[in-house]
């Protein structure tokens, strides 16, 4: 079984609030199997009790502990120190696409507001007299992939439309394309979100850079399985001349 002898490592952590901030260096002992979140907790308990960090499950299940580690958006609780070069300072920063609250904690409430604007699940009438439905596993599979999402918002953090162009008022971001795809492809759902995708959610801003897919800790194939099929639906609806003709008639 692999194990590491305890050693010292240097962590360069962003400290700050709405007023501004700076990096602060902390040296601490690191040992067998530790993850970045363990190191942050150790520093918090021993050196900086008011260091702000958000976390819950410590098992990659809740999506609370998102941060940027050496420049890459990751879950702190699933990033092993053994996967990082400890001869250099480990740089830990908050996500950049959201306003900073304090230290490693950002204000992600925008995401929760966006979700409310997406028309909710609307099932067809039940299939059986007892009020239940029949769904084949093969039809559930595709949507189950999307429903693995832990709402860590790392995909939102890397998307240039939000991160660089700050289109938060117009563009819902990859997380909510995954959410919309889960609803649109749900075997029971009957609502139509295609007009919203084009006009309100600005799906067209996405130029399929795949940055979001690359950081998803749940390995959801965000671009290929969610965004591209949604773009196809928009194209079919609005840009297919034959179909448009039919609708006019």
């Amino acid at each position: 079984m692999p194990s590491q002898a305890p050693t010292q490592a240097l962590f360069r952590i962003w400290r700050g609030d709405t007023e501004g901030g700076r990096f602060q260096d902390f040296t601490t002992q690191v040992g067998s199997g530790m993850v970045v979140l363990d190191a942050v907790h150790k520093i918090q308990a021993e050196q900086a009790p008011d260091l702000a960090v958000r976390w819950n499950c410590k098992a990659g299940k809740c999506g609370s502990c998102s941060a940027e580690i050496n420049g890459t958006p990751k879950l702190m609780c699933m990033t092993r120190l053994s996967s990082i070069d400890l001869s250099m300072p480990v740089i830990i920063e908050p996500m950049k696409a959201f306003p900073l609250l304090r230290d490693l904690v950002t204000d992600v409430s925008w995401n929760f507001r966006v979700k409310k604007t997406i028309p909710k699940f609307t099932p067809r009438a039940p299939d059986a007299p007892d009020g239940t439905w029949r769904i084949q596993q093969s039809d559930a599979d595709r949507v189950q992939e999307f429903r693995k999402c832990i709402e860590c918002f790392l995909c939102q953090d890397v998307c240039h439309v939000l991160r660089e162009h700050h289109k938060h008022d117009e563009f819902i971001g990859p997380r909510y394309f995954v959410y919309t795809a889960a609803l649109e492809m749900h075997p029971l759902d009957t609502a139509d979100r295609v007009p919203d995708l084009r006009h309100k959610f600005s799906l067209g801003y996405c130029n399929i850079t795949t940055c979001c897919r690359q950081v998803c800790p749940e390995s959801i194939t965000i671009t290929e399985n969610a965004i591209i099929p949604l773009k196809e639906r928009v194209v079919d609806r609005y840009f297919d001349p034959l179909k448009r003709l039919f609708r006019i008639l």
Partner: protein, 604 residues
Amino acid sequence: MPEYQTHPYDVLIVGAGGAGLRAAIEAASSGLKVGVVTKSLLGKAHTVMAEGGVAAALANVDERDNWRVHFSDTMRGGQYLNNWRMAELHAREAPDRVRELEAWGALFDRTSDGRILQRNFGGHRYPRLAHVGDRTGLEMIRTLQDHGIHTGIEVHMECTVLTLLTDSGRIAGAFGFDRERGHFLLWPAKAVVLATGGIGRAYQITSNSWEYTGDGHALAYRAGAELLDMEFVQFHPTGMVWPPSVRGLLVTEGVRGEGGVLRNSEGRRFMFDDIPELYKTQTAASEDEGWRYTQGDKEARRPPELLTRDHVARCINREVKAGRGSPHGGVFLDIAWIKTHLPNAAEHIRRKLPSMYHQFKQLADIDITREPMEVGPTTHYMMGGVRVDGDSQMSTVPGLFAAGEVAAGLHGANRLGGNSLSDLLVFGKRAGQFAADFARAHSAPAVDRAQAGAAAQAALEPFDRGAAGENPFQIQHELQERMQALVGIVRTESEMHQALELLDAFSARAARAGVPGHRQYNNGWHTALDLPQLLTVSEAITRAALLRQESRGAQFREDFPGKDPEWGKHNIVVRRGDAGEMLVEPRPVTPMPAELTQIIEEMK
């Protein structure tokens, strides 16, 4: 007094896990103004971590299942100390509550004819757990969240309730603060539903998150409510033991449900060596019969690995103590062995247990499709909690309700896996409904601003002491370590007396806790404010465990290793005396009606 904002509600729900969200949806459905307060962000509560499944006698996989079997399984698991009315309602209503989730968008795994698939779990006679791989809790909380946000409820994310307010004995609301910004908040309410979850952070080795500091238990106790069954803390048999930083992290019972077996360092399936009398007729006689059971053979009986959690945890403890443990102080849990029976075993395991596969691969460098895991007991679930009426979930304080893990009764001395998620749905709905009824039937209570003021003053004290005060993380850490050692899986009178003395000392230290910095998202401050709740529940657990001089369910007393029939007829109630002292007393179990007794007899 420090400033605060006021947000009045008809019904205030404290907690946004499965129980809180289900209660909120129900209360809001009747048009009342409903507020939800949660310590973390929406969708991050403990419920998100649940893995194995939600128990409901849908009878989709085995048509012999029905609510009566589920009822008797739950009562047997709880060693008959359960509130039988809750066990009955739970078994009867769980199937509808699960189907309702499907109508709200949940997508459970399917049977070949397209219905909701169910899996085996410890103590359940038939495959009963509806599930989505091993991320059932995520599916459940997300469904409730996505449905709930369209029902008009207002959610106060990252806010902590510090105290409940009362008006001449009746509930009047709650007072607390916003963790993000440090502002104080007052929530006047006609009815309050506590759905705050458990107490696992009172122990060092736990599967529970930072939120589980027993807030609801302590708040209710201080508001005058009775607590019940506080001695029954569930230690789940299979937590990770290595590496140290993940010690305690849960390994779902689903691994054993899918055919995983427990072995000691000699390679022996030691669970076959000790099968309790109560379960003899239901347990497999051979390894082969056990395997056939996990693969759906209806003639076969379940393997001993799927006996109740209290028993499996003690057997593991015994193997480790006898020197037959694994290198890091656990035993081996092997699912990889099923490749000798299944051609595509590795793929099957990854499909059925995806998050376990990733958890071990990423955190321990173990490929569970090839090698065994190392596991040992971890603090997991609190059977004890606020004593409630079985039908309405109202506590002994008028207008104060409790549902989910913070409420007691359904599980008795030991909870069966899967019975918590169903508990949240059944009793979350009931609490929401009865709280709404209560709010409609009563006028707004008077809010005593002095109660709020005192809580705010006390909350700010750690800043007065600043960095010169005691480090709250250090106090919490030592408390957890002592509770684990002295009031853990194996208990004895002298150690628990020692624990009580130490708890006094910890209280004195908690009163000296200090934190530097300001009120915005200050984790040190949050930890300091959690300490009084942790200390109250630790004391309640210890006093109840001392009083119960027997071993039953989750409580194992080394000095009283047998069951005492007298104690089998009593629960223990904890309440606050007039002088603020903690009172602990036995309370006779209410006799079961004849038709329920008959069900239990028939199912024996």
